[in-house]
């Protein structure tokens, strides 16, 4: 392969031309054919039993995420203006092509069944908006007597009411949201109108993240370019180094697009990884070129290139291979976006390797060494033995205890931090606390049951199970108990309907607000409800053959802790349900995203463990020394520990994106180690002087590693100014990983390398 590269760069112009044309072509492909996947369902592994079941249950019980439009009046919603606004808003909503008229629930569309002296009164709360306060008062009295509506569609303090729109799958779009916002503004005053609900949060997040990244990305690259320019002190070098990174990124995106794989939210992490990793190759190659020029003044371009390829091919290849291995281990993930992330990051790194090995030597051949303004032209050996790097090498060796104790402290602190790491699948937590979305959500949660839902699905193989009063009693017991859980706002099931029917059929007497005594009565109430109420509502809580039921729990938060708490609570009832032949399972988008996040995290953690093993194996193979394989894994392991430790300490939650960033620890940490060890080993082999080899490696490679870290950190720190919190976390974690990998390499890894490798060589001699 080395020879192939050497023969290719004999035509340097051609190489450059091909790369430029290839990149241009890739850009066109990406620009015009890339499809962004915003439907979160597409992210889920479709054949995972939990998802298969949940999807099926969603269909069975028409479980959909709804948009909540809340009207809040300063005094009371029971006035002609507010009530007629409900009707007007509904009329306007019907005109939206995405919204099905039958899926709008409001005080106006809600069916009301009232028990009267002689029988039943089935009618809407109002058909035409009332004109005077007398009529409003009547509506108010009717609503108050119906617990299915009071507190659910109208808030208990009667100052807010909601219109819930069940959206069909994939119906939410940013355009719909914008039109809804415009609609809301049109009807505001004196009522305030809020929009909330999972589709809005989910949709906005899917849009905001990439949009913010698209805005911040060029800034990151700009800063990296500036820093590169400062460090490499040459335009052409900066352009080539960045060119490699950008061409590889665009190239792997083009391949992805050509294969018909859409962009996912985590795909945004691919360029992040490629920028952080790819810059290193250029820096190391130029570092070697500069060194060669300094130690061989007056040499020609071919000689420089020869030296760069001869010396650097192997470490850069292994650095790339280990990084690729780290990413490719993600292929085992059950989650497609993560799998693709792994494949395409790996592919990108491979491209970066080839392009670096081609473009940078080709650049040297064509443009020479660039106008590098070197400082004092002193003797080379002096530079590398007396630089700051050399002093660090000496310092580390002089204070081994300090380094070891420091490392142990960092590890302990990280372990402490790791115990505090929390997983979060909340979409809402991705927004600023003072953003409109969060504020609205809080408001709606304060007034109503909750903006998030989890569905507890009860299934039996026996027909009419859910007409059995014993089963219904158990359901009611669990349902009532669930309301005691933190952040559970409301729960609704078939039992609510039956209790209401029973009461209504007994002249609205409160003592009959209970489960009917026998299953025939249940069946007849249900038939009556079907005949006079809205049966569609019924089929959201029970199957038409009464073999399955859906208990809807409304939550005031969409974070995993809340969902897990509910799941844990219902799990404790599994045995009692099993006695009735009923299985308890869960469904709904909140539950799915919790399972999903768990899958990503578990996959990511196991792939991290796996990649450390692969790295050790590859490095052992490269150096043909198991001990060096172990040494090389030191910075990687520490980086990973610190990564998760800091996340725990800074309360950065584990999400699909932040978990993936830990891959960078493997990618970067191991590169540093490989370059460093290779330089040390080579120098030691040539000179047999470990002190000199240490200083030299620290001075030459340590410097490259330092510059690499500096450049990437400078670039990614920019993300700290992002308006989108998850992108801030990305910035912080990438910078952190670069930093710990760098520090780990020049301190503890260097110390261990110096002590163990040196000792072995010595003993052999």
């Amino acid at each position: 392969m080395k020879e192939l590269i050497k023969s290719l760069i004999r035509k340097p112009w051609l190489v450059i031309l091909v790369v430029v044309l290839g990149t241009a072509f890739s850009t066109i492909v990406v620009r015009y054919h890339t499809r962004m996947e915003t439907d979160l369902d597409e992210y889920m592994p479709k054949h995972h039993p939990a998802f298969v079941f949940s999807d099926e249950a969603d269909k069975r019980f028409r479980i959909r995420d709804s948009i909540l439009i809340v009207l809040e009046h300063p005094d009371s919603i029971y006035n002609p203006s507010t009530l007629s606004k409900i009707v007007q808003l509904e009329e306007a909503l019907i005109q939206f092509p995405e919204i099905e008229p039958e899926n709008i629930l409001s005080l106006h569309t809600a069916e009301n069944i009232l028990g009267t002296e002689e029988g039943l009164d089935v009618k809407p709360f109002f058909t035409d908006p009332p004109t005077d306060s007398q009529e409003c008062w009547k509506i108010q009295q009717t609503v108050r007597s119906n617990t299915m509506v009071h507190g659910r569609i109208v808030s208990r303090d009667e100052r807010a009411t909601l219109i819930a729109v069940d959206l069909p799958d994939k119906a939410f779009s940013q355009s719909l949201y914008q039109r809804l916002l415009t609609l809301a503004t049109t009807y505001e005053g004196p009522e305030k109108i809020y929009l909330a609900g999972r589709p809005i949060v989910e949709g906005t997040m899917a849009l905001l993240g990439p949009r913010d990244m698209a805005r911040m990305g060029p800034l990151v690259i700009g800063i990296i370019a500036c820093t590169l320019l400062l460090v490499l002190r040459s335009w052409i070098r900066t352009i080539l180094t960045l060119g490699v990174v950008l061409a590889s990124t665009v190239g792997s995106f083009a391949i992805m697009t050509t294969l018909g794989i859409p962009m996912y939210t985590v795909t945004i992490m691919v360029p992040v990884m490629l920028i952080a990793i790819g810059v290193a190759y250029g820096i190391h190659l130029y570092n070697q070129a500069d060194y060669y020029v300094k130690s061989h003044p007056g040499c020609d371009r071919e000689a420089i290139v020869e030296s760069v390829i001869e010396t650097m091919f192997s470490p850069v290849l292994y650095a790339a291979l280990t990084t690729i291995a780290g990413f490719v281990s993600l292929v085992t993930s059950q989650v497609y976006p993560v799998k693709y992330f792994g494949i395409f990051s790996g592919l990108g790194v491979a491209t970066e390797f080839f392009l670096s090995m081609l473009l940078i030597p080709a650049g040297i051949l064509v443009f020479g060494m660039g106008k590098v303004r070197t400082g004092r032209d002193t003797e080379t050996e002096k530079i590398y033995s007396l630089t700051f790097g050399a002093r660090i090498a000496d310092g580390v060796l002089k204070h081994p205890k300090l380094v070891i104790v420091g490392t142990i402290l960092v590890i302990l602190l990280s372990v402490f931090g790791i115990t505090r790491v929390w997983i979060n699948t909340s979409f809402l937590d991705n927004f600023e606390k003072d953003s409109d979305i969060v504020k609205t959500d809080t408001l709606v949660n304060m007034r109503f049951g909750g903006t998030s839902t989890i569905n507890v699905i009860l299934d039996s193989s026996r027909e009419d199970t859910f007409k059995d009063p014993a089963v219904l009693e158990l359901m009611w017991e669990v349902q009532r108990g669930s309301l005691e859980l933190e952040k559970v706002g409301d729960a609704i099931s078939l039992v609510d309907y039956l209790k209401r029917m029973n009461r209504v059929m007994h002249e609205d007497r409160e003592e009959f607000d209970r489960i009917p005594e026998n299953s025939d009565m249940v069946a007849q109430y249900l038939l009556l409800y079907e005949m006079s109420g809205d049966p569609d509502n019924l089929w959201k809580v029970v199957d038409s053959d009464y073999k399955g039921a859906n208990l809807k729990i409304q939550l005031k938060s969409d974070d995993s802790q809340t969902i897990k708490r509910v799941v844990a609570y219902f799990d404790t009832y599994k045995d009692r349900f099993a006695q009735q032949g009923i299985e308890v399972r869960y469904a709904g988008s909140g539950y799915k995203s919790m399972v999903f996040a768990d899958l990503i995290l578990r996959g990511q953690l196991s792939s991290l463990a796996l990649s450390i093993l692969i790295v050790m194996g590859l490095v052992t193979l490269m150096f043909r020394d198991l001990r060096l394989g172990f040494v090389a894994s030191i910075p990687v392991s520490i980086s990973i520990l610190v990564n998760f430790g800091i996340m725990g300490i800074l309360a950065i939650p584990l999400t699909s994106s932040t978990a993936l960033i830990s891959s960078i620890a493997v990618g970067i940490g191991v590169d540093y180690a490989i370059h460093f060890i290779e330089r040390y080993k080579e120098t030691l082999r040539q000179t047999g002087d470990p002190v000199w080899a240490g200083r030299f490696a620290m001075g030459l490679t340590g410097r490259a590693v330092f510059l690499n870290a500096l450049i990437v950190i400078a670039g990614f720190m920019v993300l700290l100014f992002s308006v989108f919190p998850p992108n801030r976390q990305v910035g912080a974690l990438v910078s952190l990983n670069m930093f710990t990998s760098f520090v780990g390499t020049i301190t503890i890894m260097f110390l261990v390398l110096r002590k163990t490798y040196f000792a072995r060589k010595e003993s052999r001699k």
């Binding site: 008229p101 039958e102 009267t116 039943l120 005949m531």
Partner: protein, 261 residues
């Protein structure tokens, strides 16, 4: 000049064509009125089998005995459930009045509760017994509530039909329009498409079988398919007898409780 002459010619032709149609075919309104006014007998009894198919492909079958009679300006209807077993004996009675604005009287009897209850219900947009039919779909809607246009004539299932488009006068009615295929021979609707308020196809009604009993065309099997919800309802009648002289006394709370002897 040329243009004017042409204009006149077109105008004359149009008038001639329109008159031709008017002579050959009744208006949309006339057709719908004829369907509404067709003889239906003074009374009718039979067994209704209602099969409900939900979107998951599950079906539920209900068997209901049904008696209908016309007594002066009141139409009376009694339905008693035969199966499923747990609702057997549940009965439902409806008295509907010709007088404008007079609400129907309705009663329900649940055997488990052993009591007859009156139901006062508002609005005819409601679905009939949880099926895909609304009360209006079942023929309760007066032709004067819509504007009718004869769109074309067409043969379906071997029958020559008028195709009438009906647009409700009330813009807030649950359908924005319906299209009905009316058999020229039988003067009964054989198919109808329903469009929701946004003009999207919502349901299709198909008449599967029509039989002549006592000189009256009776719809023996009808099926309504809701294309949006993917549900459907099939109603078929058995043992239909017409004009047997049903006594008005069977339409009482007493029969609701005890059944028809």
């Amino acid at each position: 000049m040329k243009h004017r002459r042409l204009g006149v010619l077109v105008w004359v032709l149009t008038i001639a064509l329109m008159e031709g149609i008017a002579n050959a075919e009744p208006s949309g309104r006339e057709i719908m009125q004829a369907v509404y006014d067709r003889p239906q007998g003074n009374d009718m009894s039979g067994t209704l089998t209602m099969t409900l198919f939900d979107s998951n492909g599950k079906e539920r079958v209900r068997v209901i005995k049904q008696w209908i009679g016309r007594y002066g300006r009141v139409d009376k209807k009694l339905m008693i459930f035969q199966s499923p077993a747990d609702v057997r004996g549940t009965s439902f009675m409806n008295w509907s009045y010709k007088e404008e604005g007079k609400e129907d009287d309705q009663w329900i009897y649940l055997p488990a509760l052993k009591r007859v209850k009156r139901i006062s219900a508002e609005g005819k947009g409601d679905y009939f017994m949880g099926s895909d039919f609304t009360y209006d779909d079942l023929g309760d809607r007066h032709p004067s509530e819509d504007n009718h246009t004869l769109v074309r004539t067409e043969r379906i299932n071997g029958e020559e039909c008028w195709v009438v488009e009906s647009i409700p006068k009330d813009p807030r009615y649950m359908y924005s329009r319906t299209v009905t295929w009316v058999s020229k021979e039988k003067r009964v609707g054989v198919k109808r498409d329903f469009f929701d308020r946004r003009g999207t196809h919502l349901k299709t009604l198909n008449v599967r079988s029509v039989e002549k009993i006592e000189d009256i065309w009776v719809l023996m099997e009808v099926e309504m398919h809701n294309v949006q919800k993917k549900t459907s309802t099939r109603m078929s009648f058995q043992n239909v007898s017409i004009n047997r002289g049903l006594p008005e006394s069977i339409f009482s709370e007493r029969t609701m409780v005890r059944g028809v002897e």
